[in-house]
Symmetry: C2
Subunit: 254 residues, 2 copies
């Protein structure tokens, strides 16, 4: 078993949530300045992870939840025969580790897809703080609720949608997630490989490759490597949400 490269508080520094551009994404609630200050006291930053490094591994004891500051992280569960299933991609402003609260151990591994920095939020401290700050408790519950909701949507997508619908859904999801950070909704760089994307969607890498070609032939997107440009968002939406229906445009993972 590989040595767990746990970096214990080594290069952690006090974090300035109040100045973080991602704060509204991270904790979408109204906390007054004093509350935020208390929060800053417990949030720590760790040494950035290099591509491939683990933030935590499955079965690791649960100590903290994490917010991505920059980069990207994938969470995976491992089956007995050693093949992995990717359960989520986590972009800046998004929280991970919540699935470990119940058992006290991380049920999945979290691995950096590229150079990634995260804020570490020790859970005991957070939980204590939440009893003092009602707004924080509320925020926590909402974040977790949203996670459950997103999982249900993803489940539906994987269970009931065809391969091209799934791809459309996930492309629009990334589009939204980049967009709300103020980046382009139509041109972005995917942090994961085709193989990882296909794994996430429950497809074979070859199928993903063929899909990308078809989408380009149909003028829906252009792609060169990980650089993606959405050329016909309307058509993608039609694929993802059914034909031309403008209602019910809740976006997967948005």
């Amino acid at each position: 078993m590989a040595a767990k490269q746990r970096v214990v508080n080594l290069s952690t520094i006090r974090q300035a949530c109040s100045e973080c551009s991602l704060f509204q994404l991270c904790l979408p609630v109204t906390l007054d300045a004093e509350d935020v200050e208390q929060l800053e006291d417990i949030v720590q930053r760790r040494r950035p992870l290099r591509r491939g490094e683990y933030l935590y591994r499955a079965e690791d004891p649960f100590r903290a939840i994490y917010a991505v500051r920059a980069g990207a992280i994938k969470t995976t569960v491992l089956s007995i025969n050693g093949e992995e299933q990717i359960t989520g991609f986590h972009l800046p402003g998004e929280i991970l580790g919540l699935d470990a609260i119940n058992s006290g151990r991380h049920p999945c591994s979290a691995q950096a897809l590229e150079t990634t920095s995260v804020c570490e939020i020790p859970f005991d401290n957070l939980e204590y703080l939440a009893t003092k700050i009602p707004g924080l408790q509320q925020s926590l519950l909402r974040i977790m609720s949203k996670e459950i909701f997103k999982d249900h949507e993803l489940l539906y997508a994987v269970a009931k949608r065809s391969a091209d619908e799934r791809l459309a859904i996930v492309l629009l999801s990334f589009s939204n997630r980049f967009g709300r950070r103020g980046l382009s909704r139509t041109r972005f760089r995917l942090p994961m490989s085709r193989a990882e994307l296909s794994n996430y969607l429950g497809l074979a890498p070859e199928t993903m490759s063929r899909l990308f070609r078809r989408f380009q032939e149909q003028g829906l997107i252009t792609a060169s490597g990980k650089e993606i440009a959405l050329q016909d968002i309307g058509a993608l939406r039609d694929l993802a949400y059914g034909y031309g229906c403008e209602a019910n445009q809740r976006h997967l993972r948005s």
Copy 2:
């Protein structure tokens, strides 16, 4: 649009959590007698739902979460073209409605599979109480964490497993859930139809039917209608968790 048959506080009575046999399942934490009493003050029981009645519908405003006392409930999301995807089955002692906290509206509908009674827990009250009782806050967070974890497992099952593996997984899941209520782990009555089960697993009803036949021919189960008897749990586990591996027997939805 059908009239929403909301039963507002009509026949609600104060609930005696302290005497409920499902309490440990519902809220698996240590609350002292005084805390439980406070909880009882806010928990209400509603008139039992008849088969097919809705507890809530998608888009309904979120007011409360619910604990199943008896019976069974399915939660479903509706796609644009009107077909439904079942996102979960909820048995006695299990909580539903958590996915609505974030948006303030229920993202899915909840419908009784048979005559079902539930405890209603108004969320505002619960949230307030949680700020007063740390153990309750902790419990809430754990329940939600577990929900996220289960969703990830289910996602993995649907995305990566073959039809027979999925059936084995879900049968063992029900076995556990009946077992922990003190009922038989090997003989039980499924509350849902074959069609609903197949929908949940992302399969066609015909496939489900064939699977049941094959499982019976192979001596894994016997089934007559909704009555199921697991004849060879070991073999089912092999199917569900990989060949003969005794480790890692985390059970889906257990």
